[in-house]
C-alpha cells in the first residue's frame, strides 16, 4: 500500500518531466497558433516587438489554395504509402525467413538491422551519389552492363528513388519488430496445422498473419509518424525539387526559405492536426497493452 507520504513524493518526482514536456509542447504550439493568424514576414520588417497585423484565417485559406499544396499532399501520401507497403510486405517475408533454422543467423540479423543505424544524411548522400549518380553510380554501371540507358534517378524517377532510400532505412525496423512477434508464436499450433495437412499459404493466412496483426498495426502507426516528418532525406537529395516536396518540406520552405512565418505556421497547424489524428490511433493500441 502506498502511503500518503510516498504519494506526494511521487508527484514531486514526476513534476520535472511533466513540467518540461508541458512547456515544450505548449509554448511553441501557442506561438505557432498565434503566428498562423498574423501577417508575419520577417524579411519585410515584421517583428513580434512591433506588433503583427491580424489577418484572421487568410493564411489558412492561402496555404490550402496555393498551387504547391495538393501536389505536396500527393507526394506525402505516395512516399508514406509506398514505404509502408514495401517495408511491411518485405518485412513479413524477411521475418518469416529469419525465423527459420539456418547457419549464421546472428550475422544475417546484424546485416539486416545495420541500415537503421545509419544517420539519415549519410544514407541519403550515399544513395544519391554512389548508387543513383547517372554516370558513376553502381546502378548506372548495372544498367550499362545489361546494355540499358542509365536512369537519372533523382530527377526522372524522383519519388520511387526517395521511396527506395527511405524503405532501405526503415525495413530493418519493420523486420525486427515482426520477427520478435513471430518468435512469440506458439510453434505447436503451427505444427498441429501442418500435421492436419494445411498448406503453407493457408498456415500463413490463418495462423501467422492474424498473430502478427497487432505488430503490423504498431509498425504502421510508428512508421507513419516518422515518415510524415522525413526531412534530411529530401533536404540533401532533391531539396524538394522534381515533385518530392512533402507537406512538412513545404512548411519548412515557407517558414525558413521564403520566410513567410504566418503562412508556414498555418501549414504547421494543419500538420499538427493530421499528426494528432494518427497519434490518437496509436495511443489506443499502446494504451490497450498498458492494461494487460
Amino acid at each position: 500500500m502506498a502511503t500518503q507520504h510516498s504519494r506526494s513524493a511521487a508527484r514531486l518526482m514526476m513534476a520535472p518531466a511533466v513540467i518540461l514536456l508541458l512547456g515544450w509542447m505548449l509554448v511553441p504550439l501557442t506561438m505557432t497558433l498565434f503566428f498562423s493568424f498574423k501577417k508575419y514576414l520577417p524579411l519585410r520588417g515584421d517583428s513580434v516587438a512591433n506588433g503583427l497585423e491580424w489577418v484572421g484565417f487568410a493564411n489558412y485559406a492561402r496555404f490550402l489554395s496555393s498551387s504547391s499544396f495538393w501536389p505536396s499532399v500527393q507526394a506525402t501520401l505516395i512516399i508514406v504509402g509506398g514505404v509502408l507497403v514495401i517495408t511491411i510486405v518485405f518485412g513479413i517475408l524477411l521475418a518469416i525467413l529469419l525465423d527459420q533454422p539456418m547457419w549464421g543467423q546472428g550475422v544475417v540479423r546484424i546485416m539486416v538491422i545495420a541500415p537503421f543505424f545509419v544517420m539519415p544524411t549519410v544514407s541519403a548522400l550515399v544513395w544519391k551519389n554512389m548508387f543513383m549518380d547517372p554516370t558513376n553510380g553502381i546502378l548506372a554501371h548495372l544498367w550499362k552492363a545489361f546494355g540499358a540507358e542509365p536512369v537519372q534517378w533523382l530527377s526522372q524517377a524522383s519519388l520511387p528513388s526517395l521511396i527506395l532510400i527511405v524503405s532501405w532505412q526503415w525495413l530493418p525496423f519493420a523486420t525486427l519488430i515482426l520477427l520478435t512477434a513471430i518468435q512469440s508464436l506458439d510453434s505447436e499450433q503451427l505444427e498441429a496445422a501442418e500435421m492436419d495437412g494445411a498448406p503453407v499459404l493457408k498456415r500463413f493466412w490463418f495462423i501467422i498473419l492474424p498473430h502478427l496483426s497487432r505488430a503490423i498495426t504498431i509498425v504502421i502507426l510508428i512508421q507513419t509518424i516518422f515518415l510524415l516528418a522525413i526531412f534530411a532525406e529530401i533536404f540533401v537529395t532533391t531539396g524538394g525539387a522534381f515533385g518530392t516536396k512533402t507537406l512538412s518540406y513545404l512548411i519548412f520552405q515557407r517558414v525558413l526559405e521564403s520566410q513567410n512565418v504566418g503562412l508556414g505556421s498555418a501549414g504547421g497547424v494543419y500538420a499538427i492536426i493530421l499528426a494528432n489524428i494518427l497519434a490518437v490511433l496509436l495511443m489506443r493500441v499502446v494504451g490497450k497493452n498498458l492494461d494487460a
Partner: protein, 276 residues
C-alpha cells in the same frame, strides 16, 4: 530421409537469408570499401570490388578539410549530454509511475508519448525565434536541451517498462528497514535496474546521434554535429566519392558498433513496450 530434407531446407534458408542480408548490407559495405580507394578507383568502370590499392589518404584529407574531430566531439556532447540529462529527469518520474501508480498514471504516460508526435516542422519557427532571443542558436547547450526534450518521452517509457518488472516488495522491504526515498532509489532500485537503464541510455544515444532535423536547422558552425558535417558534402566539388565515403564511414562507424550491441532492446524501446 526426413533428416536429409531438413538439412537441405536449412541450407536453402541459409543461402537465401545470406543473399538478402548481403544485399541490404551492401550500401554500407560499399561505402566502407570505397573509403579506402583513390578517387580514380572509386569511379572506375566497371567498379572494382576488392583488388584496389588500399589507402588511408581520404581519411586524412577529410580530417584536414573539414575538421572531423570537432564535429565528432559535438555529436558526442549532444547525444551524450541529452541522454544523460534526460535519464536523470526520467528516473524519478518512471519510478513514481511504476511503483506509486495513481488513476492518472496511464493518462500521463500516453500524454507524454503524444508530445513525441508533434511534427517538428510545425514548431520550427517558434523554437528558432526563442533560440535567437535566448542566444541559444548554434550552441551546444540549446541543442542538448532540444534533443533531451524530444527523447524524454521515450526514456520515461522505456524506464517505466523496465521498472515495472522489478518486484515492488523488494522496495517495500527496504522502506520497512528505514531506507529513505533517496536511498531506496539510489541503492536498491538503481542497481537492480542497471540493465534496463543501460539499454535506455544506449538506444537514446543512438536516436540523438542520428537526429537530423533540429541539428540541421539550429546549428551552423560551433555546435554542428556529424549530421551537419555530412550534409556539407551534398554539393560535390570535383572527384569526391572516396572522400564522401571516408566521411560517411567515420560518421556511422561509432553508432553501428553501439547499435549492434543494443539490437535486443531496440524492439522494446521503439514500440514503447508494446512488442517484447
Amino acid at each position: 530421409m526426413a533428416r536429409a530434407a531438413t538439412t537441405q531446407r536449412k541450407a536453402l534458408n541459409t543461402a537465401l537469408a545470406w543473399l538478402i542480408g548481403f544485399l541490404i548490407f551492401f550500401p554500407i559495405l560499399w561505402t566502407i570499401l570505397t573509403s579506402f580507394k583513390t578517387e580514380a578507383q572509386a569511379i572506375a568502370s566497371p567498379p572494382i570490388f576488392l583488388n584496389f590499392d588500399w589507402t588511408l589518404e581520404n581519411y586524412s584529407v577529410v580530417q584536414e578539410r573539414s575538421d572531423y574531430m570537432r564535429f565528432l566531439w559535438n555529436s558526442i556532447i549532444l547525444a551524450g549530454g541529452s541522454t544523460i540529462l534526460g535519464t536523470m529527469i526520467a528516473i524519478p518520474a518512471a519510478w513514481s509511475m511504476a511503483f506509486v501508480p495513481s488513476k492518472r498514471t496511464k493518462d500521463i504516460l500516453l500524454w507524454m508519448l503524444s508530445t513525441k508526435m508533434l511534427p517538428a516542422v510545425g514548431v520550427l519557427y517558434p523554437i528558432y525565434l526563442l533560440f535567437i532571443q535566448l542566444g541559444l542558436l548554434d550552441s551546444r547547450a540549446g541543442l542538448v536541451i532540444v534533443l533531451m526534450l524530444i527523447n524524454l518521452p521515450i526514456i520515461v517509457w522505456m524506464l517505466y517498462t523496465y521498472f515495472r518488472e522489478i518486484p515492488g516488495e523488494i522496495l517495500e522491504a527496504a522502506r520497512m528497514d528505514g531506507a529513505t526515498l533517496k536511498e531506496e532509489i539510489l541503492y536498491v532500485l538503481t542497481p537492480m535496474a542497471i540493465p534496463g537503464i543501460a539499454s535506455t541510455l544506449l538506444l537514446n544515444f543512438i536516436l540523438a546521434w542520428n537526429e537530423a532535423f533540429w541539428t540541421l536547422n539550429l546549428t551552423a558552425v560551433d555546435a554542428a554535429p556529424l549530421t551537419a558535417f555530412i550534409a556539407s558534402y551534398s554539393s560535390p566539388e570535383g572527384l569526391f566519392f572516396a572522400k564522401l565515403s571516408a566521411a560517411s564511414t567515420m560518421a556511422i562507424a561509432p553508432i553501428l558498433i553501439l547499435g549492434w550491441f543494443s539490437q535486443k532492446q531496440l524492439v522494446r524501446g521503439l514500440t514503447f513496450g508494446a512488442v517484447k
